[in-house]
């Protein structure tokens, strides 16, 4: 073993997350999983702390209760990673029916996502800010008994914990921005959440952004110097085989929307474009897979637009159901108003499905074999949807080239970049100590 690899093998990170399969409702969990698995492969020792209600998750990853700290080595996927699950009331996204919550007061009441996976409802009530600080306290307790070189916090709910652990253990902090309050809430930014995000970014030695789009927001709205922000793109776990399984002559074409049905994801633009497509093509169905605070509104909107019979709602999908949804789709549309990255587009490409993505997404910076449109440009969105549905040559060329392009995105590469960022901040911290 050369000295380089020895040093890598010795690197230890204390990671603070809020989502991890099978508890996921969005891209964050997918990203944490992919990145951690790849870092594990690179030989980095990861201690992953998760806020979770107790429950019985299903899936390949063993999650463990607070009092029962064990390594997750039993899971074949991870050899260098151990998980700590803190019982907590944290939940990353607002869900169906939770639009009553009082955002402006800084109190975010969370309810159970009734279509989400495996969680008992009574775990999800209460004040989120209290939960955030409780999570921080518990994380500090765990950190006190752990040995590591760097603290890595994923998104705002873990920043207070990250900052506290970093201060307690005298280890540099890296915050990883998967989304900002500006992406999630548009113009109606929650000041408390913004303050936490800003505090975390300023406390960190380095800020990781999932795209240049997100980096711009961080620099512009949070006052972080350009040089402190590194872009590490997300990737995709490759499950597809490049074979198109949609029979050429099925009765109805399918256009898929897959994601949380919230303002950020642009579901109403999807519907407006669908309505236009239906003016020129009849044999098409629009499938909206996902749940979210705008779900009821969107169902009503589809009905009032007179296209209720053409728009189908599946509720929240996970795991194999997601792949199944992609496999039946002729086109995947991601009309997000603000999308820091957009892993789901890569997942669609990996399944040979043509993608129409909004230009307001991080992924559109780096992908070439996809159709792109401004989320507000309904005419152009409908124009491009129609083209894919009408022209098999467009669909196959996009599908084939997109599949190949998705292989340029590997979690191993993202993990390697994160590793080099760790090395930099550890080096920085050491030279500060000497002074």
């Amino acid at each position: 073993m050369d000295p380089g690899t020895e040093r890598i093998a010795a690197m230890k990170t204390f990671m603070l997350g809020w989502e991890f399969p099978p508890y996921i409702s969005g891209g964050l969990g997918t990203a944490c999983y992919g990145l951690t698995k790849a870092m594990d492969k690179l030989g980095i020792k990861v201690t992953f702390v998760l806020p979770r209600g107790t429950g019985n998750p299903v899936g390949s990853v063993k999650t463990i209760g607070t009092s029962d700290i064990r390594t997750a080595a039993q899971s074949e996927q991870f050899t260098n990673t151990k998980f700590h699950v803190i019982s907590s009331k944290l939940k990353p996204y607002a869900s169906v029916g939770s639009h009553e919550h009082n955002y402006s007061s800084g109190k975010i009441l969370l309810e159970i996502d009734d279509t989400g996976p495996m969680l008992s409802p009574d775990n999800y009530t209460g004040d989120i800010l209290t939960a955030v600080s409780q999570y921080a306290e518990k994380a500090m307790l765990i950190a006190g008994a752990e040995d590591f070189d760097v603290v890595h916090a994923h998104d705002w709910m873990t920043y207070p914990a990250g900052e506290a652990v970093s201060r307690q253990n005298h280890k540099p902090l890296v915050v990883h921005v998967h989304s900002t309050e500006f992406d999630r809430s548009g113009k109606h930014v929650n000041q408390t959440v913004y303050d936490i995000e800003r505090m975390g970014m300023h406390a960190a030695s380095k800020v990781i952004a999932v795209s240049n789009l997100t980096k711009e927001t961080i620099v512009k709205h949070y006052g972080i110097p350009q040089a402190k922000v590194e872009v590490v793109y997300n990737a995709v776990e490759h499950n597809g085989d490049g074979v198109c399984r949609i029979p050429a002559e099925k009765k109805d074409k399918i256009v898929l929307f897959l994601g949380r049905i919230t303002m950020q994801k642009g579901p109403e633009y999807f519907l407006a474009a669908a309505k236009k497509v239906l003016q020129v093509i009849d044999n098409v169905k629009f499938v909206m897979a996902g749940s979210g605070d705008m779900m009821h509104k969107i169902i009503e909107l589809a009905a009032s637009m007179g296209i209720g019979n053409k728009v189908l709602f599946t509720g929240f999908l996970s795991g194999e159901d997601v792949n199944r949804a992609f496999k039946m789709a002729d086109l995947y549309v991601m009309p997000s108003v603000s999308e820091p990255f957009g892993i789901s587009s890569l997942e669609a490409m990996d399944q040979n499905v043509p993608v129409l993505m909004s230009k307001q997404s991080g992924i559109s910076e780096v992908v070439t074999h996809a159709l792109k449109v401004d989320f507000w440009d309904i005419d152009e969105m409908a124009n491009k949807m129609t083209a894919v549905l009408k022209r098999p040559q467009l669909k196959t060329t996009l599908g084939k080239n997109g599949f190949h392009e998705s292989y340029r995105f590997k979690w191993e590469d993202s993990a390697a970049k994160v590793k080099s960022i760790y090395e930099e901040v550890i080096e920085q911290a050491k030279s500060k100590e000497k002074i």
């Binding site: 792109k372 022209r391 996009l398």
Partner: protein
């Protein structure tokens, strides 16, 4: 004895406007963009290059000779947007040192899809050149130097041509080189002039490339390479886009200065001279037959058709375009036939090319669409509309009354 034979391709497509499936207008062209690009290229390339050529011909007392192939679609745009360029081309024609070549009026791929249409376009181009420059083209160059053994018999059938210009691709020449006159196996009269792609590309592509071992390229250095041909060839065919001067290679690369000094550097050697393509075939007999069973072109490394027919979108767009031929001509509507011909310009299909797309190379530089997919979507929307225009026009056409004889 080495003769230098310059041929410059002069072409700008007529770009389509943004056209969605919801559009119904029969106005497909982006006149604003076309005018803008035409003026830009005129100022950066056509005007300064034409003036320089005039100056060089006068300075070298008619010993400097060149040839041009100018497409009909560009000539129309010059007339509308840059008439001063047309004037300088006419001045060049009047020097007697400039030959104008024949090609398809619409810079089309008709040779590959419709012989009748191809012949019509070649004849239309010939009429236009005669009318504007007082010369009848006697040398033929097909769009993008696309060529195979099938071309000479059709050119023979049209008549009036003495030679065809194409790419000196290695795989058709084998051990031979491009510096001789050849002839095809499929015609007894026609001769072939083959592009010396190494020396041509040294100017057209590598001139400003600082990573190239020969950078910077001076007129003296290039003349020395021409002198080296003496003894192993009769003619060096330097064929390139005219936009090389000032547009592909910007003025600040020194390309105009290079050109300004090149004739004198080449003529310094007593055995060298400049000839037009017609003079070349009068001076040198063909030395051998060149067999080209598979189609070649001058594009990219592959020198094949993959830039226009490399993916299924391109194949589909071309097939649909020529499938409409019968219907378009049935309308007998000059406006419809005219716009259908404009849709044949090869650039429309080049924009849909996906090879190397991710690398952001030359294909992207010439593409005003954001992606090849956008180019295809736009083109097919236009074609769809043209199709329905045809249907309407045929319905409206006055019905001929046929009397039934008993």
């Amino acid at each position: 004895m080495a003769s230098v034979c310059f041929y410059f391709q002069v072409h700008q497509p007529q770009r389509l406007r943004h056209y969605t499936i919801f559009d119904h207008s029969d106005n497909y062209l982006d006149d604003y963009k076309n005018a803008e690009i035409c003026r830009k290229v005129a100022n950066k390339c056509y005007l300064p290059a034409n003036r320089l050529m005039l100056e060089l011909i006068r300075k070298h007392k008619r010993k400097f000779k060149i040839s041009y192939s100018i497409t009909g679609v560009l000539l129309e745009q010059l007339e509308k947007f840059a008439p001063d360029v047309l004037t300088t081309f006419k001045q060049l024609a009047d020097t007697g040192c400039v030959e104008f070549l024949g090609e398809t009026y619409h810079h089309s791929l008709a040779f590959l899809y419709s012989k009748d249409e191809f012949i019509d376009q070649v004849k239309a181009h010939r009429r236009t050149i005669k009318q504007l420059f007082g010369q009848t083209p006697r040398i033929f160059r097909n769009t993008e130097l696309i060529y195979n053994n099938g071309l000479p018999p059709i050119i023979d059938q049209i008549g009036g041509f003495d030679a065809i210009i194409t790419e000196g691709a290695d795989h058709i020449l084998g051990y031979r080189n491009a510096n001789f006159v050849y002839r095809p196996p499929t015609s007894t009269k026609l001769k072939l002039l083959l592009k010396n792609y190494r020396l041509s590309d040294d100017i057209a592509f590598r001139f400003s490339n600082r990573d190239w071992g020969q950078w910077p390229l001076t007129a003296e250095k290039f003349a020395a390479w021409i002198n080296n041909v003496n003894g192993c060839g009769n003619v060096v065919n330097l064929f390139m886009d005219y936009e090389t001067f000032g547009e592909h290679q910007w003025e600040d690369t020194g390309i105009f200065n290079f050109l300004r000094h090149l004739p004198q550097a080449i003529l310094r050697h007593p055995d060298n001279n400049f000839k037009t393509p017609s003079e070349v075939i009068r001076s040198y007999p063909p030395v051998d037959i060149v067999d080209v069973p598979h189609t070649i072109s001058w594009a990219d490394i592959e020198r094949d058709l993959s830039a226009w027919r490399g993916n299924s979108m391109q194949e589909n767009a071309l097939a649909e375009l020529y499938r409409l031929e019968g219907k378009v001509k049935d309308t007998e509507n000059p406006g419809i036939i005219d716009i259908w011909r404009r849709l044949q310009t090869s650039d429309h299909f080049y924009y849909m090319c996906t090879k190397w797309f991710s690398d952001g190379d030359v294909h992207k530089y010439f593409n005003h669409y954001n992606s090849p997919y956008d180019a295809y979507i736009n083109y097919m929307n236009v074609l769809d509309n043209l199709d329905s225009c045809c249907s309407e026009a045929i319905l409206k056409k006055p019905q001929r009354v046929y009397e039934l004889s008993a």
